[in-house]
């Protein structure tokens, strides 16, 4: 400090006066500084003459603080300082001087440091690595605050929206009965095809998209149900949607297939009573339009089936022409048998409901054939959409895939016929009906024989698996108690469409026609043959010897059904012989041959010298078979044989 040059400092008074007011144009009006007398008065007011020196010191501290604030004040301030301060050594500029001196010191130090640093020999300046964070802390918090604000605003909007949604949901749940038209329409669209035409909504209930070629349009219209009175209570089954089906598809319909034995008069044709079958129960949860549409679709399908059948009935030439009258098709598969297929369509009018008093018999209605008709028409639909037909080249006609190849591959007529299915719906159904009828008649024949004749017994084992055109049954003819021995008559009957084919155990194949009498006669003849076969088997078991056996004897009275068969068996000792002749009509005749010495009425002659000749068998005697003991023929035969074999005692 001592070597430092003196520094000139210029001091300037602030000359600041307090602003009294700022005018509108920016000019400031200053307060006039207090004059001497005013100042004195002010100071005198401050002095509290009642207090001691402590208070004076306090007061001195107060104005002293004021005086120091006014740095570089004027003469009035000098006075004031002199008045209150009790330290005479302090002159008014002391503090200023001290401040200035400290400032000078600081500056000199700074100057020294800088000059040393400039040389970079003893001190260097290194920048202080400062984190960027501290100065940025304030912008981050600003961002956070702004983000918070904006999120709060978005949350507010979302909450408002959620509130609205919950309100509407609760509203919906309240009005569940009152269903919306649009929600109902959505449900309808899940089941049926709809399209919008202008301002109308139309739907399609035909089978055209499934392959049908029926020309009915099958369109229904969806209408809004507006006849609801909001004041009254909404009914339970109210539906805001209603469907309007075409007038010719109203009501319900079904195809009735029945077989009648006697042919009715011509005048009776076409007078089929429409029996209103009770509507099939709809599923409990399904709305009323679903049942309505399903019923209409069923009516359409029945109409298509009947149209196809009647078209074929007229076009196809058959030996006995089919008759088509009104809603009925009549054909004669067998003579004296009539098959009638009719379309029963009952609308929902109250008039027709009254007429439905007659109930058809249980055998009249062949439900199986009706079901098959539905299946057949659906198969026909599928054929038009099958992969055999589609896809096809643009230039080729609509038809079977192999038919397109028949030209380039030079198919002859047999091959072409094998591709084309020539049978129509009607022919198929008639064939099925014929088979059903033949099968039931065969079963009835066998059952009636079985119940009528006890000896021998007929057993029929029907096969579970059969075709629409073919069934089979195995018929066994046995004697009760001797099933293991006498099982030579086993017949396999294959019942076809028009014929019954019988395959015998011994390999013969016989074809019988549809007449039931033929089958009955055949079975009766087989039964009579069985008795004789049974004797043959029994003889083997009992040790008797078969002398002769014939399935078809040419002697004796002629049988009208089949032929009589005969057998002669001899006892083990040779003494006796039994001869049996059995015919389907003439019944059984049994004769026993006795040795000569047991017959008393033989003429004695001189020719026979030796007595050994009397042991030979001689004349026959008939057995009164109906008086024999035993429950059936074979049992009686066994008893007879055992009676004629002497026991060795």
């Amino acid at each position: 400090m001592s070597g430092v040059r003196a520094v000139r400092i210029s001091i300037e008074s602030a000359c600041e006066k307090q602003v009294q007011e700022v005018g509108l144009d920016g000019t400031e009006t200053y307060l006039q500084p207090l004059s001497m007398s005013q100042n004195l008065a002010r100071l005198a007011q401050r002095i509290d003459f009642s207090q001691g020196s402590g208070s004076e010191e306090d007061e001195a501290a107060g104005p002293d603080g004021d005086a120091q604030d006014w740095a570089g004040a004027g003469a009035e301030q000098d006075d004031e300082e002199g008045l209150v301060k009790f330290q005479p050594s302090l002159w008014p500029w002391d503090s200023v001087r001290n401040n200035l001196r400290s400032a000078l010191t600081e500056m000199c130090v700074l100057y020294d440091v800088l000059s040393i640093v400039r040389d970079k020999k003893f001190m260097t300046l290194d920048p202080v690595s400062q984190d960027a964070l501290p100065p940025k802390q304030s912008p981050q918090t600003l961002q956070l605050i702004s983000k918070k604000k904006s999120l709060a605003g978005a949350a507010q909007i979302l909450l408002k929206g959620a509130e609205r949604l919950t309100k509407s949901v609760t509203e919906n749940q309240e009005n569940k009965l009152q269903r919306d038209f649009n929600s109902e329409l959505l449900r309808l669209r899940q089941h049926w095809k709809l399209r919008k035409v202008g301002d109308k909504i139309l739907g399609d209930l035909s089978y055209r998209s499934a392959g049908s070629l029926f020309p009915h349009h099958g369109t229904f219209e969806v209408i809004k149900n507006t006849d609801i009175d909001l004041d009254k209570k909404i009914p339970e089954d109210y539906c805001p949607l209603d469907v309007q089906i075409p007038s010719d598809l109203e009501g319900s319909a079904y195809i009735k297939v029945s077989i009648q034995k006697q042919a009715p008069d011509i005048g009776d044709l076409g007078t089929v009573n429409l029996f209103k079958r009770p509507l099939p129960k709809s599923k409990p949860g399904s709305p009323h339009w679903q049942t309505k549409l399903e019923a209409a679709q069923n009516v359409l399908l029945c109409k298509e089936i009947f149209a196809q059948l009647s078209r074929e009935a007229v076009q196809i030439k058959s030996q006995i022409p089919h008759i088509v009258v009104k809603n009925q098709i009549i054909s004669q598969p067998f003579p004296s048998l009539q098959l009638s297929i009719s379309l029963c369509h009952s609308s929902n009018d109250k008039k027709s409901q009254k007429c439905a008093t007659e109930k058809p018999g249980p055998e009249d209605h062949l439900y199986v054939l009706e079901h098959n008709l539905h299946l057949l028409i659906r198969e026909f639909h599928k054929q038009t959409l099958s992969s055999i037909v589609m896809p096809h080249p643009a230039s080729a006609p609509f038809g079977h895939k192999r038919m397109r190849l028949s030209g380039p591959q030079a198919f002859d007529k047999n091959e072409i016929n094998s591709i084309q299915s020539t049978e129509g719906l009607l022919e198929k159904i008639i064939k099925q009906a014929k088979h059903i009828f033949l099968r039931s008649r065969t079963a009835a024949t066998i059952d009636s024989l079985a119940s009528r004749i006890e000896d021998p017994q007929i057993q029929a084992h029907w096969s579970n698996i059969n075709d629409v055109y073919e069934s089979s049954v195995k018929v066994l003819i046995t004697s009760q108690g001797y099933e293991q021995i006498c099982k030579s008559i086993q017949l396999q009957l294959n019942i076809g469409v028009e014929q019954v084919r019988v395959v015998h155990r011994d390999g013969r194949v016989i074809t019988l026609s549809h007449q039931e009498q033929e089958l009955q006669d055949f079975l009766l003849s087989q039964m009579s043959q069985h008795q004789v076969h049974a004797v043959q088997q029994l003889a083997k078991v009992m040790g008797w010897q078969v002398l002769s056996f014939s399935n078809h004897v040419g002697l004796g009275p002629i049988e009208s059904i089949g032929n009589a068969s005969a057998i002669t068996v001899a006892s083990p000792s040779g003494d006796y012989a039994i001869s049996v002749r059995n015919g389907p009509e003439s019944g059984s005749k049994i004769m026993v041959q006795f040795p000569r010495n047991q017959c008393k009425d033989l003429p004695k002659s001189d020719v026979l010298q030796d007595s050994k000749w009397s042991h030979l068998r001689g004349p026959f005697k008939e057995v009164q078979w109906n008086k024999m003991e035993g429950r059936n023929f074979v049992y009686k035969m066994e008893l007879l044989m055992s009676a004629l074999s002497p026991c060795l005692l």
Partner: protein, 212 residues
Amino acid sequence: MGVTCVSQMPVAEGKSVQQTVELLTRKLEMLGAEKQGTFCVDCETYHTAASTLGSQGQAGKLMYVMHNSEYPLSCFALFENGPCLIADTNFDVLMVKLKGFFQSAKASKIETRGTRYQYCDFLVKVGTVTMGPSARGISVEVEYGPCVVASDCWSLLLEFLQSFLGSHTPGPPTVFGNRHDAVYGPADTMIQYMELFNKIRKQQQVPVAGIR
């Protein structure tokens, strides 16, 4: 499709075509064959148009378009020594469109019509070959259904032919010649018919002016 032999039956001396046909059919019926309807084989000739010949050379090729009632949905198109095409019946319509390239030779339609007899595995067709209104000859076709390889059954066919044709039995057809184990097809039958028709056309040259 079995092995087929097509041959011509010469008209008996002093008799008309119709009477010879009747003789043959009576022989067949006595043999035990059963009549099964009628048959028809026809042939149209086309030749390539002059405009397409250009620098190639003199005469264009002849194309024959034939139909056979045995294959009712097919149409056969063949060149003389060339390939045989089996096509759909739409081929006839196509020929109309190809009028510029193929021109129909005048008065060229030749056909044979007759009855069809079935005798167990043999199918015999006896037909009258007509060109226009006039009958030109008799065609006899015998098919043995079960066999498709020509060399295997030629001897059997020959024997059968001898039984009712007698001395007019033909030799083995040229289509059998080269390929011994090849499968016989309908195209071969049509080739035989084409050769037969050409032979018949050449026989009576007087009434018909220049076929080509």
